[in-house]
């Protein structure tokens, strides 16, 4: 049984479709990241789950209960907003105790819970401080504590770390993940930062133009992207257009590769990660190799990056410094695409089946 089921959730603004039939099953206790470029509909999807936007179509089910029509204040989900939305007229403690106060809890109860939660987000002793006297990181923690005050069924965060500087953001990613594991709460985070998604998520949902392209664990999204968009958006990749010429053989610019898992015929797109591409000195022939010319090379200390011109297309390869072949910029070399590293995708512009 899944905790949360999105069934063809759609949002239209006039003729603009912000979210196009999003379907997803999220098991209990999962950490989900909605990942995509800005304007891809990920925030709209989160707001529909929170009940802040009415879906134009589709259903939302939690624990077998249809909540598509339920108003936001009856859903009992905790949400952290991008702007944090802390109430400026209340102190940190009063902010956290707000949901308890409007439910009629007494002062002592409110106080006790606020202090418990501040302890939980590792920010003890600031309960009496006005929100305006807190730093960015502290406000972040107060917003998280407030969203967790009622032990919500679902914890929603909209770009929660985007206001923090890079260093603090990294630390908060790890801390947020640990917090989620400790509480075992089903969590959905909206982000445009793939590092953030890779760090925290059990399930990465890659979106673009209102559609879900792939929903899979981070490593699967990286190693087995569902289509060209995912392959290109997550990390760096080489995309090669190819045409299947014979069973198990595909013609690409500059030569032919022999791969398993090819469709019987037609056009395909190959995605190969730079670290999987092997660079050999010129003349060193073998299977699945193309010849090219080194156009640019940089030694980054921990790794060496090559940019190789193969039949007019740039191929990026990354290798360890000790595996670096003796080549100079402008010189010829041979590039190997190991069959296991080549992901076969439908050609650009076509939806995966």
């Amino acid at each position: 049984m899944s905790a949360l089921v999105l069934d063809g959730l759609t949002k239209r603004y006039g003729s603009v479709v912000a979210v196009h039939g999003a379907s997803l099953r999220i098991p209990h206790g999962q950490f989900v990241c909605l990942l995509g470029p800005s304007g891809c509909g990920k925030t709209t999807l989160l707001r529909m789950i929170a009940g802040l936007e009415d879906p134009s179509g589709g259903r939302l089910v939690i624990d077998d209960k249809d909540i598509t029509e339920a108003p936001a204040h009856l859903r009992e989900f905790g949400m952290v907003f991008q702007s944090l939305a802390l109430f400026p007229h209340l102190t940190a403690g009063e902010n956290i105790a707000y949901p308890l106060r409007i439910r009629g809890a007494n002062k002592a109860e409110q106080r006790k819970r606020a202090e418990e939660l501040l302890e939980l987000v590792r920010l003890p002793g600031v309960a009496d401080r006005p929100v305006s006297k807190l730093s960015g990181g502290q406000r972040q923690r107060v917003a998280i504590a407030r969203a967790l005050a009622l032990k919500p069924k679902l914890f929603l965060l909209d770009e929660p770390l985007s206001a923090l500087d890079a260093k603090l953001r990294e630390a908060m990613q790890i801390e947020l993940k640990q917090l989620q594991q400790r509480l075992g709460i089903t969590t959905i985070v909206v982000t445009h930062d793939q590092r953030e998604a890779m760090t925290m998520a059990d399930l990465v949902v890659v979106m673009s133009q209102g559609r879900i392209h792939q929903a899979a664990p981070p490593m699967e999204v990286y190693r087995q992207p569902a289509d060209a968009f995912v392959a290109d958006f997550i990390g760096l990749t080489n995309l090669l257009d190819g045409e299947v010429t014979a069973p198990g053989a595909v013609a690409v610019p500059g030569g032919q590769l022999h791969l398993p898992n090819l469709p019987p015929s037609g056009r395909v797109l190959l995605s190969v990660r730079p670290e999987e591409v092997i660079v050999h000195p010129a003349g060193n022939d073998g299977p699945n190799r193309l010849t090219g010319r080194l156009s640019f090379m940089r030694d980054l200390g921990a790794s060496v990056e090559f940019r190789i011109d193969v039949a007019g297309r740039e191929i990026v390869a990354v290798s360890r410094p000790q595996d670096r072949p003796p080549v100079e910029p402008g010189g010829p070399l041979s590039v190997e695409f190991p069959p296991a590293a080549c992901v076969v995708l439908p050609p650009m512009g076509e939806r995966p089946q």
Binding site: A50, G51, L52, P71, A72, H73, L74, R75, E76, F77, G78, M79, F81, Q82, S83, A85, L86, F87, P88, H89, Y98, P99, R101, I102, R103, R146, A147, A149, L150, L156
Partner: protein, 284 residues
């Protein structure tokens, strides 16, 4: 931008013009009025310079005390009603699409362009027996025969609130337009119903604006002297009406000036009290 306090004459210069205007058009006339308030009235004539407090003594009576407290009470009621109606109205207004907002604002500005006289006569006609709204109620079968609703306290209150409403909306508008809608959404996800989130997040968050606007409408209503005469009975006449009466019809300038000075002092004191109460609550 200069962030430190201005020191040289040149740095002070931008404030010279407004300061000059304030002196010429406020400080000098007001000082003259204070001076006149201690002058002695010459029966049958005008007044001559003197230094007497008899003008002030005259309204230390129950009659003037009653008029004074009625004026203050009426102004406070008008302020409370205007803000009470205009605040939720403006809150909804700023969430409307731009085009609709502009339509509403144009409509409100056109009410502002009406003079107090026109508003007064319009309302007294609307509430009259012969041509008023009660004729409509009779036609609809809600009443058996038309009746006069004006002059009355209700008519006066309606007219004053009608006149103050557009000002109130325009003063509340900028502050509410800047209000972060995420705050209300956050309250909703934390379990507050729409009404509860309005009362626990929007109203307290806008407290300073509400206090400032209430004071403005209060002072505005205190100065009204035409509407009480057009829509109210003589017992609804405010101190402003009496001041006008003394100054223009009784030609008793010193007494009118004394009443005006007293009115200014009392309203200043009340505004000060309101601000003080606001600050104390904030500190608590």
């Amino acid at each position: 931008m200069i962030r430190r306090a201005p020191r040289t004459l040149a740095e002070h210069s931008p404030i010279l013009f407004p300061a000059l205007m304030l002196v010429v058009f406020f400080v000098i006339p007001f000082s003259l009025m204070i001076a006149v308030s201690v002058f002695r009235r010459v029966p049958g004539g005008f007044y001559e310079p003197d230094f007497v407090f008899s003008n002030y003594e005259r309204f230390l009576t129950t009659f003037f005390g009653g008029v004074m407290s009625f004026s203050l009470g009426l102004a406070a009621l008008v302020a409370a009603m205007s803000v009470g109606i205009a605040f939720p109205f403006t809150y909804r207004l700023v969430r409307l699409p731009r085009v609709n907002q502009i339509r509403w604002l144009v409509f409100l500005l056109s009410i502002l362009s009406l003079s107090e006289v026109i508003i007064g006569f319009a309302w007294s006609t609307l509430l009259s027996r012969t041509a008023g709204i009660t004729n409509l109620f009779v036609a609809l079968g809600l009443m058996s025969e038309p009746m006069a609703l004006s002059p009355s306290f209700g008519a006066l209150l309606a007219g004053l609130v009608y006149q103050a409403f557009p000002y109130t909306v325009l003063v509340l508008y900028p502050s509410l337009a800047r209000f972060d809608p995420n705050l209300v959404e956050a309250a909703r996800t934390l379990g507050a119903s729409p009404l509860k989130s309005f009362l626990t997040v929007v109203v307290p968050g806008q407290r300073n604006t509400i206090v400032a606007t209430t004071i403005m409408v209060f002072v505005f209503a205190l100065g009204s002297y035409l509407l009480p005469q057009l829509l109210g009975k003589p017992q609804h006449w405010t101190l402003s009406v009496l001041i006008t009466d003394q100054a223009i019809y009784q030609a008793n300038m010193p007494f009118a000036a004394a009443m005006a000075v007293f009115l200014v002092l009392v309203s200043l004191a009340l505004v000060g009290l309101a601000l003080l109460a606001g600050r104390k609550e904030e500190a608590a």
